[in-house]
C-alpha cells in the first residue's frame, strides 16, 4: 500500500520530536529512565548516601533485622546491607558498561566488516560467528573464567566476549540491509573509500538498532555477571557485588531472609529498568515495532 505511506501532507514531514522526548512520553520509557537515573545517582553518590562503609564489619550486630539503625539490616559480619547495595550499584554499572562495551565494539567491527567487504572475509567472519554462537554464551563465559580464574574483571570480560557473536550477527544483519540500499552503492560510485563508507555511511545507519540492542544487552550482561558472582566465579569477597551478596545470604535464608531479598530485588529492578528502557527506545526509533 504505497499510497498510504505517502499520505502525510508535506507540512507534517518537518522534523519529528527529539528522540528523548518520544522515549519519555511512553510510560515504560519514563519508568525505565527514572530507575536508571536512580541507579546512576546511587552509584555516583554512594559515599554520601551510604550510612556506613560497605566493607566495615560490625557496623551493627551481625544479622540485625531491617530497622531504624539499619534500614535493610546487616549481614553475617555485621556490615550494613543498604550501604553495600548502594556501593554495589557502582560495580553493577561498571560491569554493564565494560561488558556491553566489549560486545558492542567487537560485534560492530565484525558485523560491519563482513557486510561491507563481502566475499571471503564475510564468509570467514560469519561462519566463525555462527560456530561461536552455537557454543552458547554460558559456555564461552565459563570457559573464559575457567582459564583466567574467578575475579570480577575476568567475569566482565567473559560476559562481554560471550555476547560478541550475538552483537556481530545483529550488526551484520542490519548492515546487510543498508549495504544493499542504493544510497550505499551511490556512495561507492561517488568514490568513497572503505573507511569512509563504513564510518560515515554504514555505522550511523546501523547504530540506532545497535543502541537498542546494547540497552537490552545491559540487562543481559548484568544478569550474567551476577550469576557468575552468585556461583563464586565473579566478584570476590569483600566486594559488595549483588550476585555474590545473594549467594552469601542464602546460608542464612531462614534466620535473615533480608540478605536474600534486597540484593535480588536490586538486580531485578536494574534489569527491569534496562529492559523497559530498551523497549521504549526501540519503539521510539522504529515506530512500526510499537507494542512488539
Amino acid at each position: 500500500m504505497a499510497d498510504i505511506a505517502q499520505t502525510a501532507p508535506p507540512e507534517t514531514r518537518r522534523k519529528a520530536r527529539p528522540l528523548w522526548r518520544r522515549i519519555l512520553r511512553s510510560p515504560g520509557g519514563a519508568i525505565g529512565a527514572a530507575l536508571v537515573l536512580a541507579l546512576v545517582v546511587s552509584a555516583l553518590a554512594a559515599p554520601w548516601l551510604a550510612p556506613f562503609d560497605p566493607a566495615k564489619m560490625a557496623a551493627g550486630r551481625p544479622l540485625t533485622a531491617p530497622g531504624a539503625a539499619h534500614l535493610l539490616g546487616t549481614d553475617e559480619l555485621g556490615r550494613d546491607v543498604l550501604s553495600r547495595i548502594l556501593y554495589g550499584a557502582r560495580l553493577t554499572l561498571q560491569i554493564g558498561a565494560i561488558a556491553v562495551g566489549i560486545s558492542l565494539v567487537l560485534g560492530l567491527v565484525t558485523g560491519l566488516s563482513a557486510a561491507h567487504f563481502g566475499g571471503w572475509p564475510e564468509r570467514i567472519l560469519m561462519r566463525a560467528t555462527d560456530v561461536l554462537f552455537s557454543f552458547t554464551e554460558t559456555l564461552i563465559a565459563l570457559a573464559f573464567v575457567a582459564v583466567l580464574g574467578p575475579s570480577l574483571t575476568n567475569a566482565m570480560v567473559a560476559v562481554g566476549v560471550a555476547a560478541v557473536p550475538f552483537y556481530a550477527r545483529t550488526a551484520y544483519a542490519t548492515a546487510l540491509g543498508e549495504v544493499a540500499k542504493p544510497y550505499y552503492e551511490g556512495a561507492i560510485a561517488a568514490g568513497a573509500g572503505h573507511m569512509r563508507l563504513i564510518l560515515r555511511h554504514l555505522l550511523p545507519n546501523v547504530l540506532p538498532v545497535m543502541i537498542v540492542v546494547a540497552t537490552l544487552g545491559l540487562s543481559n550482561a548484568i544478569l550474567a555477571a551476577a550469576a557468575l558472582g552468585f556461583l563464586g566465579l565473579g566478584a570476590q569477597p569483600p566486594q559488595p557485588e549483588w550476585g555474590y551478596m545473594l549467594s552469601a545470604g542464602r546460608d542464612f535464608m531462614t534466620r535473615a531472609p533480608w540478605l536474600m531479598l534486597y540484593p535480588g530485588l536490586a538486580i531485578a529492578l536494574t534489569v527491569f529498568a534496562f529492559n523497559i528502557l530498551g523497549d521504549a527506545l526501540r519503539e521510539a526509533i522504529d515506530p512500526r515495532s510499537e507494542g512488539r
Binding site: 561462519r127 555462527d130 560456530v131 552455537s134 557454543f135 552458547t136 554464551e137 554460558t138 559456555l139 565459563l142 570457559a143 573464567v145 575457567a146 582459564v147 583466567l148 580464574g149 574467578p150 540487562s219 544478569l223 551476577a226 550469576a227 552468585f230 556461583l231 563464586g232 566465579l233 550476585g243 545473594l246 549467594s247 542464602r250 535464608m253 531462614t254 531472609p257 536474600m260 535480588g264 538486580i267 531485578a268 529492578l269 534489569v271 527491569f272 529492559n275 523497559i276 523497549d279 507494542g291 512488539r292
Partner: protein
C-alpha cells in the same frame, strides 16, 4: 531439504571440531603453569611428581601432537581422568548428563506450556489490556534472575511450607529446579511467541484469508498459528541453550547432580580434564539438539521440505 540439512550437519560438526581445538588450547592459555595451579591445592607435591603428571597429560609434547593424541583418545571415548581421584572423566560426565537433560527438558516443557499460549493470547488481543498485562508480566519475569527466583521458591516451598525437598535427587526434588528454570524462561518464550505471531498477522496472506471471509478462529488457528509456529521452532533451539546454561546455576542452588554442578566444582578445583570434558559434552549436546530441531523445522516448512 537434503542440502539444507547437510549444511546444518556440516555446521554442527564444525562446531564440535572447533570445540576440540579450543579445549586443547584452553589449558595452555591458563596464565602460569597449569600443572602447578592444578596441584596448588594438594600439599606436598614434589617437582618430580609434577614432571610425571605433565608427561602423563602429554603437556611436554608439541601442541599439535597433543591435539592429535587428544582427538585419538576422544574417538575411543577417553576424556582422561580427574586430577583428584583419578576417575575417568567420560564416565563421570555420562553418569551426570541424563540429570541435566532431564532438568533442561522438564524446564523447557514448563516454559513452553506457559509461554506459548500466553504469547499467542497476547498477540491475538494485541493492544488490549490482556496484551498489556501479559507483556508486563513477561517483562517482569525476564528481569527476575533465575538464581534469585530459585532461592525464593526454595525458601517458600521447601523451607517455609516444607512441601518439597530442598535439594537432592528423585522426582520430587526435580520440581523446584525445573520450576525455577521453566518460569524464568516462560517469559522469554511468551515475548518471542507474541512477536512472531504479530509478524505473521501483518503478512499479506492473513489479509487474503480474511478477505475470503474465513471465521476469525480459522484464520488464527490455520493461517496464523501454523506459519507463526515455524519460527517458534527455531526459537526452541535458542531456548534449549538458555536451559542448558541456566541449568548450571540452578543445579548448584538445588544440589542437583548434573554436569553443571560438576563443572563449577571442577573450575574451583582447577580440574582441567573435567572442564575440557564438560565443554565438549555441553557443546555436543547443544549441537545435537539444534540439529534435531532443524530437522523438525525442515519438515514443518514446505519451502524447505520440498526443495
Amino acid at each position: 531439504m537434503l542440502s539444507y540439512l547437510s549444511k546444518r550437519l556440516a555446521m554442527g560438526l564444525a562446531t564440535i571440531l572447533v570445540a576440540t581445538v579450543a579445549v586443547t588450547l584452553l589449558i595452555h592459555l591458563v596464565p602460569g603453569d597449569p600443572v602447578q595451579i592444578m596441584y596448588a591445592q594438594s600439599q606436598g607435591t614434589t617437582p618430580e611428581q609434577l614432571e610425571e603428571i605433565r608427561a602423563r597429560l602429554g603437556l611436554d609434547q608439541p601442541i599439535a601432537v597433543q591435539y592429535v593424541q587428544y582427538l585419538g583418545r576422544l574417538l575411543q571415548g577417553d576424556m582422561g581422568v580427574t586430577i583428584r581421584g583419578q576417575q575417568p572423566v567420560a564416565d563421570l560426565l555420562m553418569a551426570r548428563l541424563p540429570n541435566t537433560l532431564l532438568l533442561a527438558f522438564s524446564a523447557m516443557a514448563i516454559a513452553v506450556a506457559i509461554g506459548l499460549p500466553a504469547g499467542f493470547w497476547a498477540a491475538s488481543r494485541r493492544g488490549t489490556w490482556v496484551d498489556s498485562a501479559v507483556m508486563m508480566t513477561a517483562i517482569a519475569g525476564v528481569s527476575i534472575p533465575h538464581f534469585w527466583l530459585g532461592l525464593v521458591l526454595m525458601f517458600w516451598f521447601a523451607v517455609d511450607l516444607g512441601w518439597l525437598p530442598v535439594a537432592g535427587g528423585g522426582p520430587l526434588a526435580l520440581v523446584l529446579p525445573a520450576m525455577t528454570l521453566g518460569l524464568s524462561n516462560a517469559a522469554i518464550v511468551a515475548r518471542m511467541t507474541r512477536s512472531s505471531m504479530i509478524d505473521v498477522m501483518e503478512q499479506d496472506f492473513v489479509r487474503t484469508a480474511n478477505a475470503k471471509g474465513l471465521p476469525k478462529a480459522m484464520v488464527q488457528s490455520r493461517h496464523v498459528l501454523r506459519s507463526g509456529l515455524i519460527p517458534v521452532v527455531t526459537m526452541m533451539g535458542l531456548q534449549f541453550t538458555y536451559m542448558m546454561g541456566g541449568a548450571i546455576v540452578v543445579e548448584n542452588i538445588f544440589a542437583w547432580n548434573g554436569i553443571g554442578r560438576l563443572a563449577i566444582e571442577a573450575i574451583f578445583q582447577r580440574d582441567y580434564p573435567v572442564i575440557q570434558g564438560f565443554i565438549l559434552v555441553f557443546a555436543t549436546t547443544v549441537v545435537v539438539v539444534m540439529f534435531l530441531l532443524d530437522l523438525v523445522y525442515a519438515l514443518l516448512d514446505p519451502r524447505i521440505r520440498r526443495s
